[in-house]
Amino acid sequence: MIGSSFEAVLGAAAGGDEAAFGILWRDVQPGLLRYLDAFAPGAAEDLASETWLRIVQGLDRFRGDERAFRGWVFTVARHRAVDRWRRRARRRDELVPADALAGLPAPDDPAAAAVDAISSRAAVALIVTLPPDQAEVVLLRVVAGLEVAQVAAITGKRPGNVRVLTHRALRRLADRLATDTRVRGAV
């Protein structure tokens, strides 16, 4: 989080200042990639670029604080990811290159995620093994740093539902880590 200087940074970026935009980008981009990589493995970079293009185009019209800015970025990112998913769904017969699949970790293999137990990538990989709605809620709250209300607005759920999903996700994660001795030992 940028903090108290966010308003000045945003104003400068909206005025065309590259350095200010770089600050915004470095602050948001890591979480953006982790979030997108969870739902569109292999396409996170492209989707992030599309997201930033939209953000730059609307930067001078944005009004809000840092949290609202992050919420806007992740809303755009989610729309990009959903659009991509829909395009893919229309082209079901698309062939996936074998080497692309070989590079992906098995989604239900916590041990693989625990190889670098504490790396952010491994942690996100473990979160992605949760049911999709729980995983998205946790990622938006933890990785994007959004509030319950923002997550509810982005995902189209009620705030109470977001809280319930978060509780379930945490408990499920705890159970999985407790049952998998390898992961428990690594973490």
């Binding site: 909206a14 005025g15 065309g16 590259e18 935009f21 770089g22 980008w25 470095r26 981009q29 890591p30 979480g31 990639l33 982790r34 970079e45 992030a48 670029s49 930033w52 293009l53 730059v56 185009q57 930067l59 001078d60 989604p107 239900d108 137990a117 504490i118 790396s119 952010s120 990538r121 491994a122 942690a123 996100v124 473990l126 979160i127 093994t129 949760l130 049911p131 946790v138 990622l139 709250r141 933890v142 990785v143 740093g145 809280r163 978060t166 509780h167 945490l170 408990r171 499920r172 994660l173 705890a174 159970d175 999985r176 880590l177 407790a178 049952t179 998998d180 992961v183 428990r184 973490v187």
Partner: protein, 225 residues
């Protein structure tokens, strides 16, 4: 494999979780990364570590796209868009509003012309229709020639026979066969007049007042002759 990509053996049974549920406050602090593995409630140390790692600082490979992002920013940054606007209009192209004005004027002229045309047509129509009306009093005595003029003077039923030279048609040589041919339609009243004219009775629907035609008064004088 069970739901969520988990093998059944690894899945905790529903309702038999290995860890206790969290209260809202603790869950919020865990999610916000304010609870470390050492401070976590029993059974949640691993979760705390995972959540803190997921929100951890950027890895070097996550910031490799900065140059590409800056290129996007240079190409689409707001200040650049603002600067472009006057340049698009400057080289001779008037502002959209300014370009729109002549169109508006031309449109206004067209409307004015159309209105003038309508007014002129209406005036012509009135002028054309006026003589027969003016001649009505003189032809008010014509009902006998029509024979069916039993209605009020201004009524439609009376107007038809007046405008239709029934007797004239009947007096003309080629006419006699036509009233019989037009017999059925003569019930509609005054249509027998069409037997003499090539306009045909079908042009006037029953119940509709016929248009006053300036030519029709002409045969009358001929007949009177």
């Amino acid at each position: 494999m069970g739901p969520g990509g988990v093998f059944p053996a690894e899945m905790p049974e529903r309702g038999r979780s290995l860890v206790a549920p969290l209260d809202d406050d603790t869950a919020e602090r865990l999610v916000a990364g304010r609870v470390g593995p050492d401070d976590a409630p029993p059974g949640y140390a691993g979760v705390a570590g995972v959540l803190q790692a997921a929100a951890g600082p950027a890895a070097p490979d996550e910031l490799t796209g900065q140059e590409a992002a800056l290129a996007i920013f240079r190409a689409h940054r707001p200040s650049r868009r603002v600067r472009r606007r006057p340049q698009r209009r400057a080289p001779g192209r008037p502002h959209r509003r300014a370009r729109g004005r002549p169109r508006g004027r031309a449109r206004g002229r067209l409307v004015a012309l159309a209105l003038a045309g309508v007014v002129a047509a209406g005036g012509l129509w009135t002028a054309a229709a006026a003589p027969p009306r003016a001649g009505l009093p003189s032809r008010a005595g014509a009902p006998p020639s029509g024979g069916s003029g039993s209605g009020a003077p201004g009524s439609v039923t009376q107007a038809r026979p007046m405008t239709s030279p029934v007797t004239a048609a009947g007096a003309n040589a080629p006419a006699p066969a036509k009233p019989s041919a037009a017999g059925p339609s003569s019930r509609n009243g005054g249509v027998t007049a069409s037997g003499a004219s090539h306009h045909g009775a079908k042009q006037h629907r029953p119940g509709k007042p016929p248009k006053p035609k300036p030519e029709k008064p002409k045969p009358k004088p001929r007949h009177q002759r």
